[in-house]
Subunit: 342 residues, 2 copies
DNA sequence: CCCGTACTTGACACCGGTTCCCCTAAGACC
DNA sequence: GGTCTTAGGGGAACCGGTGTCAAGTACGGG
């Protein structure tokens, strides 16, 4: 009778001898239902292998069981980690994940996103940096009534809408470690202008110097944009200085790899002649030589937590575990740091 | 009147003074329509900013404007590249991308996938390796009537359902290059058992030796599973051999990074004491030191082409550009190969 | 024994599109 | 001028779920 082999709610209702509505109640675990009827319907559902049609439900509910990951982040590994975390969080639920990259800085970004959110009627979205810092996007989500969680290097919102990491403190600790090792001339390769993560990490760097009573020299600070090439170029500038810095903190691992290349091109040995610390702990950090000491940014956990926050309160029976909102980035000590040989 | 601000097809019909059906015809570009009416309806659509509801359409059509990427591939960068390619291909269409990772080798993989495909009524899916080699999954797609394209290291199917790369030939060329440089004892780090890519790449390796009239020594072939650690372990075994191989072809970049670590731990200089070629050309290849000579696997292009194949024939007016089905992997010469110093 | 109450359940309309089938009017043909 | 053909467009049902509201049932209290 059905063109598609898929049984529908009508089939279940007919076979079980109840109304559609009753079947609907069973599916949605409505409490006001006779245990007897429920059992009968459940049996039929299991028997014929009925699966509710998500499109029909989305239409009736005016809401989709779809969670989105929206980003304009160029770091594939980071995006992938967050995505993996979200998928872990969504595991076992009826939610699916949709990924939506946006063109960084495009004029049409906001309208693209609006179109996407309105069309798909997403249940919720995770806003990844740097897009998460864009207040007008948050405003858009509120206006449309789409749940959102922002991922950021510092808390910008209330806990229900944030998964934040403690970048500033983490970087402070990393740089303090360099100072502890005896370094006094420490270079910074900062992230791009206008990025919250860049600001926070830079602030952490400055905190550490201040704490140690070290002067803050502008010449020791170079700008990058988180890419390998920018790290290489920035490092060349720092390594041209006299006296040369004995250590460099790079605001991303990828840039740190660029620093390594710049150092090698000058015949410098790492870590003997130059200590390096990165940020992110993407796989490249463990794969370069020497293995990079870096700050682990817990992107997978943040993605998982964000996903759980987004869908919290849906399966009502399950206890609402309070998801953490602050994630601690920790220093991973590998082989790229040593005391200076001054 | 509407609870949500979204205008519906009814609003358009009412304002334009036509029936729903006529509006539907305009949206779907039906040819049997008076140019006058069409214009009027189009004006109203533009005026009130009407966007057809994809859920309603999916329900009526029994088909979703959703394209899936299904994989059980552990290499984040590769997945990300394919995903990026697909998004490029889907750019400007009304299709969205859904990503669905599957647990490698899980007992429930097939039923998980069936559940996913039936529920979401995907328009089509791209099957990434190694999952694409699983015939029962292809069978499932056919049975459900879900379009599919397989991505693989060799063509297993007709062109409409494949994007294939020429791994065997590419590896043959890479190894021939090593031989040309003077290498005679060349080690292979193969991929995991049962993977088509592993088989193809190994076959290419053997082709090159045979062509050059070099003996095929089993001791020079070590097994890996594409991970860094497995590459490191496999390389240790090869480097323990006497005489030591002067070059190693690794079936993945990540394993090649492991090879580099193993070589360094023995005080070997790359490329003076050991030449290395990898496969994939993921970012790590360019970031390690020395930059890794590797085979570029055109994953982004493959993803784009696959997406276009999946949705081909939908927007009927646009000319059907024939998408390529075979992608050529090319050798990228960087700094990890040199003549042996024998 | 009657009635109010709480608990179950069903009928029906609706979400926003699409398809099937039919009607109407204009033009073609004899 | 009448009939046939054809194109344009409308009505109603349908896709498969959900909300609202009211009806039916069992139970306890007065």
């Amino acid at each position: 009778m059905q063109k598609t082999g898929q049984p529908t709610i009508n089939d279940v209702a007919r076979i079980a001898g109840v109304s559609k509505k009753t079947v609907s109640r069973v599916i949605n675990k409505s409490p006001l239902l006779n245990g007897d009827t429920r059992l009968r319907v459940e049996t039929v559902i299991a028997d014929i292998g009925y699966i509710p049609n998500p499109q029909a439900r989305a239409l009736a509910l005016r809401r989709n069981y779809l969670v989105g990951l929206v980003h304009d982040n160029p770091n594939a590994q980071t995006v992938m980690n967050v995505q993996r975390g979200m998928l872990e969080g969504l595991q076992g639920t009826e939610f699916e994940l949709v990924v939506r990259p946006l063109n960084r800085g495009a004029q049409s970004m906001l309208s693209d996103l609006r179109y996407f959110l309105e069309r798909q009627r997403l249940f919720g979205v995770l806003l990844m940096p740097p897009i998460s810092e864009n207040e007008s996007i948050v405003q858009l989500c509120r206006e449309i009534g789409c749940r959102y969680v922002r991922m950021c290097s510092v808390s910008l919102d209330d806990d229900a809408h944030m998964v934040a990491s403690n970048d500033r403190e983490a970087v402070r600790g990393a740089v303090a470690y360099l100072i502890e090792q005896g370094h006094r001339r420490i270079g910074l390769i900062a992230g791009p202008q206008g990025f919250r993560s860049a600001t926070e990490r830079r602030a952490g760097f400055e905190d550490a110097l201040r704490e140690a009573g070290l002067p803050l020299q502008r010449s020791l600070i170079a700008g990058g944009d988180y890419t390998f090439e920018s790290g290489l170029v920035a490092a060349e500038r720092l390594l041209d200085l006299t006296p040369r810095p004995t250590a460099i903190f790079s605001s991303s691992d990828t840039m740190a790899a660029g620093v390594m290349h710049a150092a090698r091109a000058r015949g410098l040995d790492i870590p003997r002649d130059l200590s390096i610390i990165g940020f992110d702990d993407t796989p490249v950090a463990a794969h370069v030589w020497p293995p990079l000491t870096t700050v682990r940014w817990p992107t997978v956990s943040m993605g998982r937590s964000a996903a759980l926050k987004l869908i919290s309160g849906v399966g009502e029976e399950e206890e609402l575990v309070e998801e953490p909102s602050l994630f601690i980035s920790t220093l991973i000590r590998r082989g790229s740091v040593a005391p200076p040989i001054d």
